[in-house]
């Protein structure tokens, strides 16, 4: 047993200290490729049962959610018409000014769709494994999204598999902004599993429950560009608190993405490079 414990400690030490292109990472990549068909097979077998469960679970709240969504659709239809006009005006003004901008979401990004093969193994590691890798153009630190919103970023990419660190991970931080008021902060992992908080929001900023939170992109004047382009929706503000002793507001955000039931994601591949700083 002592030999195995020593071997485990040696593996941890070497893996921790080497780069992503190290030999142990290469061995892990090969092993993951070998296991990939088994994981895909198991996921395919389980999917019908999960879909049936999801169908019946969804029926429980279907009626009340239907009424709420109808009201929301009506409001959004009005907003969409106004936004179309504003977007056309925006495009015309950009052309007139010859405005140079970085890659814009979603126009300047190509999605690489992938199936989720492995889900977060524990509360510590909010990471998933997806069925695509460098062979399909996935690179480390690429943003990952679904149609619901931001999921995370690619933390490790091998030939045919990749690891995605979710925005609910304790080590994740995303520059985010309130779509309505423009209040900015850093979106981080909250106290409970899967909860998010928008931190470092100044007390004088106006944030209200129900506001939509999106990625802020790279703030002007920042020397380090953000990993995420501006405008990817993240979630909705569920509560806002502040007290006299804290420097910032406490903003709780409920994510749009259901991280517990991710089946497929899209890795964003940029077709434009960001303009370099002088």
């Amino acid at each position: 047993m002592g030999v195995l414990v020593l071997l485990s400690l040696t593996l941890i030490t070497i893996y921790f200290r080497e780069s992503a292109s190290g030999s142990l990472h290469g061995v892990q990549s090969t092993g993951a490729t070998v296991l990939r068909p088994f994981e895909i097979g198991a996921e395919r077998i389980a999917r019908p049962f999960r879909d049936v469960y999801g169908y019946f679970a969804g029926l429980v709240h279907a009626k009340s959610e239907n009424a709420k969504l109808r009201t929301e659709v009506d409001a959004l239809r009005q907003q969409s018409i106004q936004n179309s006009t504003a977007r056309q005006e925006n495009e015309a003004l950009r052309r007139q000014l010859r405005y140079v901008d970085g890659p814009r979401f979603p126009a300047d990004y190509t999605p690489i769709n992938a199936r989720v093969m492995g889900r977060p193994p524990s509360e510590f590691e909010q990471q998933i494994v997806i069925s695509t890798g460098t062979a399909n153009g996935v690179v480390a630190h690429a943003p990952v999204v679904t149609s619901d919103g931001l999921v995370g970023q690619v933390s490790l990419a091998y030939g045919r598999v990749a690891q995605v660190t979710l925005i609910t991970d304790a080590n994740s931080a995303v520059a985010a902004t309130d779509l309505r008021s423009g209040a900015s902060g850093v979106l981080r992992h909250g106290q409970g599993v899967g909860s998010l908080i928008l931190d470092f929001v100044p007390k004088e900023s106006v944030v209200k429950p129900g506001d939509i939170i999106v990625t802020a992109g790279s703030p002007s004047g920042s020397k380090l560009p953000s990993l995420y382009p501006r405008g990817i929706q993240i979630g909705r503000v569920s509560s806002v608190n502040q007290n006299d002793t804290e420097l910032y507001k406490q903003v709780q955000v409920e994510p749009f993405v259901a991280f517990g039931s991710l089946d497929a994601v899209a890795v964003l591949e940029s077709s434009r490079t960001s303009p370099g700083l002088p």
Binding site: V27, A46, R50, V129, G192
Partner: protein, 174 residues
């Protein structure tokens, strides 16, 4: 012994694949069942500490490879846990009805504490409250529910050894 090793290898491989692909997507009250842990402990109870430790190392490597996690992390925890339960299975837990349940309950708790300590040592942020207060009791309950069917299945594949085949280091008198 080779036949047992092959059987255990296949069973643990299947358990690891099911754990990563299916079990980890079950989230009730913030916890998920750990099929791989329960299967490993069943193997260790039936085959002793050395066999259990080797299977623990193998199972941990499988899980770390499938999850693209730090290699050796889960191996360390499962090796120690399986070795200890293998010793328990050879001594006070021998032929006891409650042995699988006690093993699974205790090791689930110790595994969570060990993982928390190891993550802390590696500098990872980990909420002790989430792991030890919110998620631990549901994890124990889930694993105990899995114990009976998994132990019966593993026992069918790996028949309990005769007394003559067991370790002679410890023998109970009376």
């Amino acid at each position: 012994m080779i036949a047992d090793a092959l059987k255990a290898g296949v069973v643990l491989l299947l358990a690891a694949v099911i754990q990563v692909s299916i079990m980890s997507s079950i989230d009730v009250v913030g916890a998920a069942p750990n099929l791989l842990l329960v299967t490993l402990l069943s193997v260790a109870l039936l085959r002793g500490p050395i066999f259990g430790a080797a299977c623990g190392f193998y199972a941990g490597l499988l899980l770390d490879t499938a999850d693209l996690a730090t290699l050796g992390f889960t191996s360390l925890l499962l090796t120690v846990g399986a070795y200890w339960i293998g010793r328990y299975g050879e001594t006070t837990g021998r032929d006891r009805f409650h042995a699988p349940y006690v093993s699974v309950g205790v090791v689930t708790v110790l595994y969570a504490i060990g993982a928390l300590a190891l993550h802390f040592t590696l500098g990872d942020q980990a909420s002790a409250r989430v792991v030890l207060v919110d998620g631990l009791l549901p994890s124990v309950v889930f694993n105990l529910l899995l114990t009976a069917p998994v132990y019966v299945l593993v026992r069918r594949l790996l028949r309990p050894l005769d007394r003559g085949d067991r370790s002679t280091e410890v023998s109970l008198l009376g």
